[in-house]
């Protein structure tokens, strides 16, 4: 899209997105003002209400103190502008002069990282010498310096800092297209519009993952998608497995992405391939959900989302048929749909791009166990159909919840839960690892996290409540969709109220903040016996007199103490 159109559409989207501002501060030692609209637009089209704040020119250190509370801080620290004209002065400086500059930069790196140590998310571009590098066999002083500074940066930065390999962006475009030098000497603008478009495309997954907008499930058609050929016509022996695609999908499965199948086929035929085709890479144990039948794919995809308890906008679907692709794009636009390219050699590159939609910043143990957890969930749903009476069914599950209080070992998973949970989330407050850690260490806050077990397995950490003692308020209450439908929420409320009583809270306050995805919990506090105190369009405030609380007498869920 053209730059002027981006500016126009970005203006139109301003104020049209119904979610809190996501403030991104862009700090730099060159002029980067053209990044603002491009960055905002790239996120606003994903319903992230991005607001970019630009730092002053060449003022990274002071700005890092000024903008430390932004939701994210992006730093353009251009090597050639460490001092004015560094690209042509560097080789002629004395060793002492050169080292003084390096020392100054290292000191500034320390200051900046220190100022930003409690910030939610910091993206700092790797130091690069690509732009003004000579096409020469000998390594320049700046080439060597860049290597050294990047090691320094790597060693110094903590887990809230992501180092962005800006050379990857430049190499996608070429050096020539990445820069526009016309204003470099007079105004210190360096990068071209094309560069900014590519750059924000590159880093966008980080923002999406921290705002809960990342994709969760990748669903494949079978014929001419997982393999070449039509199983029902060509037969078991004559299909050719797309191994590259399946290896890439397997890698995603191991990172916790849900892999599923939605195909018009005979289920027995496909299951036979999954079970015993010698070339297959994906096997039954990697596939969380299968809809193999002759129903239309709209129904099947909808029921996949329902069974997994995730939104349609968390789904990515790949199919070879233009008919199916167009149908789904038109009828279910929330699903991101890809068509297998007609040139087979382009399929791998497409699949690698698709992998980026599932970007996850920190890998936790649970991500890798997730396939099994989602499979258990689907099994439970199948069991539910047979069981008929829901209470009997729940009682047959041997449910238990394990409660952890202020457990520092869970910081990363807790923060992930706040960022990824959209549906059963009363206030939808997103917290970084640093913030969670501070809550746990803070005397005023109680961080209750729960694991849910049943006879099919452990769901892992799937529920969270944050209590503020001073104001007697539930700041956050959420449950992962994987454990919903089992009355866990009512048992958890019992735990929370007991905890409040233990801390002498007589009146427990709470609130519901409406989002596009959490309507299902709108009446939750009332159902738990809270009284509505104040009601506005998007926020409802409640209060509960704790000694009046009547629990739901859910005897079939046991409560265990985890800490």
């Amino acid at each position: 899209m053209k730059y002027s159109e981006i500016i126009k559409l970005n203006n139109e989207l301003e104020g049209a997105i119904n979610s809190p501002d996501y403030k991104i501060a862009i700090l730099s030692n060159i002029m980067v003002h053209q990044s603002k609209e491009i960055c905002e637009y790239s996120l606003r089209i994903e319903s992230v209400n991005a607001k970019v704040l630009l730092g002053e020119y060449d003022n990274i250190v002071q700005d890092s103190a000024k903008f430390q509370d932004a939701n994210a801080i992006v730093i353009f620290w251009d090597t050639y502008n460490f001092i004015d004209g560094f690209q042509y002065k560097a080789e002629s400086l004395s060793n002492l002069e050169f080292e003084n500059i390096v020392e100054k930069v290292e000191t500034e790196i320390d200051l900046v990282l220190n100022n930003l140590k409690d910030s939610s998310l910091v993206l700092i571009n790797k130091f690069s010498s690509l732009i003004f590098d000579q096409f020469s066999l000998s390594n320049s002083r700046i080439n060597k310096l860049v290597l050294r500074l990047n090691v320094y940066l790597e060693e110094k930065c903590s887990s809230n800092v992501k180092i962005i390999d800006i050379d990857k962006v430049v190499s996608r475009l070429s050096i020539k297209s990445s820069i526009d030098l016309r204003y470099y000497y007079s105004s210190k603008t360096l990068y071209s519009i094309d560069f900014y478009k590519k750059y924000f495309e590159y880093i966008k997954p980080i923002f999406l993952s921290t705002t809960g907008k990342i994709k969760k499930a990748l669903i494949f058609d079978c014929d001419n998608t997982l393999w070449k050929g039509i199983l029902g016509e060509d037969g078991f022996d004559n299909i050719r497995i797309y191994q590259e695609i399946q290896y890439l999908a397997l890698h995603l499965a191991k990172k916790g992405v849900i892999i599923g199948i939605c195909s018009k086929n005979n289920p027995n035929d496909v299951n036979e391939v999954l079970k015993s085709h010698p070339d297959m890479i994906l096997r039954d144990e990697n596939i969380v959900i299968k809809k193999i039948n002759w129903n239309n794919k709209l129904l099947n995809l909808k029921s996949i989302a329902e069974d997994l308890n995730i939104g349609l906008d968390s789904l990515v679907f790949i199919d070879d048929s233009s008919f199916e692709v167009e149908l789904i794009r038109r009828e279910l636009p929330d699903i991101k749909v890809f068509q297998v390219p007609s040139r087979e050699y382009e399929y791998g590159a497409m699949m690698r791009n698709i992998s980026n939609l599932f970007y996850s910043p920190s890998k936790t143990e649970e991500d890798s166990a997730k396939t099994q957890m989602y499979k258990n969930q689907v099994k439970r749903i199948e069991g539910r159909v047979e069981a008929g009476n829901i209470e009997d069914y729940l009682a047959s599950l041997d449910l238990s919840i394990t409660v952890y209080v202020d457990d520092l070992s869970q910081v990363s998973r807790i923060s992930q839960l706040t960022q990824k949970t959209n549906q059963f989330n009363l206030t939808t407050k997103r917290y970084s690892e640093t913030e969670i850690k501070n809550f746990i260490l803070n005397n005023d806050k109680l961080v209750l996290s729960i694991e849910v077990d049943d006879k099919y397995g452990v769901s892992g950490l799937t529920g969270l409540a944050i209590l503020c003692k001073k104001i007697s308020k539930i700041d956050t209450l959420l449950l992962s969709c994987r454990v919903l439908g089992r009355n866990i929420e009512y048992k958890f409320m019992e735990v929370i109220v007991n905890m409040a009583k233990k801390h002498n809270i007589k009146f427990l306050n709470s609130e519901y903040i409406k989002t596009q995805k959490n309507q299902q919990v709108e009446g939750f506090y009332n159902r738990c016996g809270f009284n509505t105190i104040i009601k506005s369009d998007n926020i409802i405030q409640y209060q509960l007199k704790t000694d009046r609380y009547k629990n739901e007498k859910i005897n079939y869920i046991r409560v265990k103490n985890g800490s």
Partner: protein
Amino acid sequence: MEARVKQVMSNIFNVEINLIGNDSSPDNIENWDSLKHMSLIVALEEEFDIEFSDEDIVDSMNYALIINILNSK
């Protein structure tokens, strides 16, 4: 071409397209500062797939002059 130039200017400066005319310049468009001027140039270059010379950049300080420069390309 005139309509496309007006559209680009309207987008960049965030003003109504029908308020842009021959005498539109930094004097009567509040948003038209030196940074926005750079944005205008790159947007016009992208729109018409051309390149402005240094002189063109300095000279293109009102709508009529921009049209002149584009006509000469």
